[in-house]
Amino acid sequence: MKKLFMALLAVALFLVGVIGCGDKANEGEKQANGVIQQPGSADKGMSEKLDITMMVSTAAGGGWSDDHPMVKLLNEKFNINLKFQWVPGDSYKEKLNVLAASNNFPDVFQIWDASMYSKWMNKGVFLDLEPLLKDYPNIMNNVPNEAMKMMNPKGKVYGLPMYAPAFRSNLAIRQDWLDKLSLQMPTTVDQFYDTAKAFVEQDPDGNGKKDTIGFSMSVGTTSIGGIDYLKGAFGLANNWKLEDGKLVPQQVQATEWKALAEFLHKAYVEGVLDKDFPVNKDRDPWNKLEANTLGMAEVNPNEVYTQSLPTLQKLAPTADIVQLDPPKGSTGLQFANTVTSTAKIVLNSKLEEKKQQRVLQVLDYIFSDEGFILTKNGIEGVHYQKDGDKYVKLDKFDTDRPQILSTWFIRRFDPGIQIRLWDSKEYADKVMAWFNNTEKYRWTDPAAGLVSETASKLGAQIDQKLVTAIVNVIVGREPIESIDQAIQAWRTGGGDKIIEETNAIYAELN
């Protein structure tokens, strides 16, 4: 009996200990929250400290820690307790779907996928911002009306559009390789092919080995990436095109696909096209350009002088990357990779009113001039300082990376989102020249953001089969005619329904 009593006592003590600890921790937090009161924040209705969670999709390098100076600054300014969830871009969609399965979203997050946006919008996951936005002039003045309305039903705004430079992926070529082989800048698709071939066979890096590649691309689960300039030149649509008032998807353009596949097949056989393309991920062609093995690839003008060129010049000190206009197709078509951003920043519809306001205050601040300078450059005195009439970057900028919020999450509508205070005007002009020059090759998608129900259900699966068929033709494992059958299969497997539904949505909107 005594033993039993002791055992029970032990268990009871253990439980009390655990529960007690939890309580104490909570109390401590509550007290701390009460103490840290920002002077002056009460008058803006910020007297209560709120927890705010934001989920951000990240690229190379990962996010901030919770005690990052930028987080601290925002926490103090708005009397909040910001919790960022940094999710790698590759698995962001997966993460959202997992969160959806338990219906448990953060306060503010991004939706990159148009079909996800429309599906969840109808489920009431996002907060309608329309009635609230009038109190936030910085957001209203900065975001174009058209972008605000896109993908939203009339009179509703379920998310703030996330800006993306239309020509973020811009074709580039190694000028020093051209010079070495005394070649002209290619202007047509044929010249493009010859240049690429020369890059493979004439040893442009001068190491005596045939180890360079002409051009490359990547294969995702549902599309072939990195060769939009070729797709455009061969007459393919940027997803959709208008023909006699009807929308026609890229997937059914059999003649164009076959011509492009034939071109790529020849390039593959002759070693002009990267043999690794089926296993390449999105950024691999760009990586290979930076690794001094590839002659032409799409790069980001905002990063070419700050990242690509310095990386490349470590391997080849005389290397030079310049913009290459999209090559002209046989019928004179010339198009550049053009992105219409369909990404949205959304607020959780479950937010209580005071939290809605606080979140919008933070977002409005980031859209303001002051906030824009802060999120692009960091904190004055920590990440940069003023030196006379010039600005100087401090070392902390590179280690803290205070700019990631402006590149990954909340962007003003401004192609110079990555141009800093201390960058020279000359540099800024050089970057903007890439964007301005590409404007004449804009490749519009008339149906951007329109998502039919069948497309979101079956689109990925049938696209994947079509891509598989095309890639098999490119590597020569299937005859060219198999593309016809694959397109037929795409149509019957749900494609025809997608065409019908998307046209219906389009007709309704226009």
Binding site: N97, D276, P278, K457, V471
Partner: protein, 301 residues
């Protein structure tokens, strides 16, 4: 009657002690199984599974009617068969060979080296294989080109996928899996070997008639457990090795569930696929176990 009561009472501290473990299994292993119901619904996370529409066996009907079903089944079974007949014997052979090595230092070194790869994640192993075997930039192909040979498309040619898959499995896991067999061999009574020597058995005969029979029981148990995993082909490894060109042979139930379930958010349908997989695995275990018992062997349970 009083005795039973007394016994029960004496057991109370023990029951309290197993309570946390019991709770753990109930809470984290058995309770989540309840969510299997979504395989029979059109689960909508925003309605929860109390209010989602009930569709009965619709999702199973869709799976069996799917054009991809037979391809998935075939790929899964072939990879499993390769695991069972090529990978499974590898650690046994390795253990027998190590057992024959008489120099202790040598045996220990080899054993350590062979089980090391177990601690690498599949991401690293597949990454290494890309560095080695990529068609354009891979080390092996660069060597081939410099020797004037043709490139070999190890990663993208579907013919190489299955051998490469099995080879990577053997390289990574056979050392680790050999541990249990080595432990069994270490416990064999040395007098058995001595007796065999007295009878004039060679090293080969000793292995055949002493070592191998000693392993028989462990091999059987491992085999039955392995059968239960027939439908699991190593999700991470297959997904990482998969590309557009080999998808015809590399698409298995696991990768299909990932693609359709997580990427296209069809929770109910893919739960049904997962359930189908588990049921097949369970049937195989039960079948193999009762077969083993009928043959007079000890089963897993």
């Amino acid at each position: 009657m009083a005795d039973t009561k007394k016994l029960l009472r004496r057991g109370i501290p023990m029951y309290i002690m197993i309570l946390p473990g019991l709770l753990y299994f109930l809470l984290f292993r058995y309770l989540p199984m309840g969510a299997i119901v979504i395989a029979f619904q059109n689960y909508d996370p925003f309605n929860g599974f109390m209010h989602s529409e009930w569709v009965g066996l619709d999702h199973f009907a869709r799976l069996f009617g799917e054009a991809d079903f037979w391809r998935l089944l075939k790929n899964t079974l072939i990879l499993s068969a390769m695991n069972l007949f090529l990978f499974f014997p590898a650690p046994i052979v390795l253990a027998l060979m190590l057992n024959e090595a008489r120099v202790r230092a040598f045996r220990k070194t080899v054993q350590t080296i062979t089980y090391m790869p177990h601690f690498l994640s599949w991401v690293v192993v597949v990454g290494i294989s890309v560095l080695l075997f990529a068609t354009q930039e891979g080390a092996v192909n660069k060597l081939f080109v410099s020797l004037g040979w043709d490139r070999i498309e190890l990663l993208t040619n579907p013919d190489y996928f299955r051998p490469l898959y099995t080879f990577m499995n053997i390289w990574k896991e056979s050392g680790w899996s050999a541990i249990i067999f080595l432990a069994t061999l270490a416990s064999v009574d040395p007098t058995l070997y001595e007796a065999a020597v007295m009878d004039g058995a060679s090293r080969w005969k000793q292995m055949l008639h002493v070592s191998l029979p000693a392993l028989k029981h462990v091999i059987l148990i491992m085999f039955i457990l392995r059968l239960g995993q027939t439908m699991d082909t190593g999700f991470e490894q297959v997904l990482l090795m998969q590309n557009t060109l080999n998808i015809d042979v590399s698409d298995v139930f696991d990768t299909y569930v990932y693609r359709v379930g997580i990427l296209s958010a069809e929770y109910s349908y893919t739960t049904a696929v997962g359930l189908f997989k588990s049921v097949v695995g369970l049937l195989l275990i039960i079948g193999a176990n009762s077969f083993a018992k009928r043959k007079g062997e000890e089963g897993v349970y």
